[in-house]
Symmetry: C2
C-alpha cells in the first residue's frame, strides 16, 4: 500500500472548514478510482501546549504507485485536489509515501 497525505494548516473558521471538509470534500475524495482507504486525523496542540503545525492530516491509500497516479490524474482526483485548494488555499501540503514495516 502507498498513500497520498494531505496536511492542512489551521483554518480561521474551523466550523466552516469542518463542514466543507467532512460534508463535501471527503465524499468527493471517496469517488477517486482506486482509492482504498481514507484516514483523517485532527490536531490542536503540540505536546508543550502550543498550536500544532497542522490541523488535519488525511491519508489516502492505494494498492500501488500506478493506482495512486491514475487516481490523482483522474477527473475525480482532479476535482478532489481542486476542492482541497479551495478549502485552504496555500495551506495544504501533499506528500506521497508508504507505511514502513513493523
Amino acid at each position: 500500500m502507498v498513500k497520498v497525505v494531505a496536511m492542512y494548516g489551521h483554518p480561521e473558521d474551523k466550523q466552516a472548514f469542518d463542514a466543507h471538509y467532512f460534508d463535501k470534500h471527503i465524499p468527493l475524495t471517496e469517488k477517486i478510482p482506486g482509492l482504498k482507504e481514507v484516514k483523517v486525523s485532527k490536531y490542536d496542540k503540540d505536546p508543550m501546549g502550543n498550536p500544532s503545525r497542522y490541523y488535519i492530516i488525511c491519508e489516502m491509500y492505494y494498492d500501488n504507485m500506478d493506482e495512486l497516479k491514475s487516481g490523482l490524474s483522474s477527473d475525480e482526483g482532479r476535482a478532489s485536489a481542486k476542492d482541497a485548494m479551495s478549502l485552504s488555499g496555500k495551506s495544504v501540503t501533499f506528500m506521497v509515501g508508504e507505511d514502513a514495516d513493523g
Copy 2:
C-alpha cells in the same frame, strides 16, 4: 485513542538516519509506558515529484490523554524525546491529536 505524531525533515545522510531511527530510536520509544501502537511512514516526493516536506512521520498511540501525558513525562518518554532531538535537531515537529471518525 489519541496520538503523538513526530514529523522529521529529510536528513542529510538517510542511511545513517535510518540506522539510528529504526535500530535505536524505535526500540527506545517502544519502552514508553502506556504506548499502545507505533506506526512509521516514509516520504520522498510530493505528487508533483518535488521533495516531500517530511521524510518520516511516526504516530504513537495511547488509550487516552492522561496515558499520553504520563507516557511523555516518564523517564522512557523523556529518553525517547531526547533521542529524537539528537536524531534531527530542530527538524522534528511534534503534534498531539486523534483519528477522526469514519
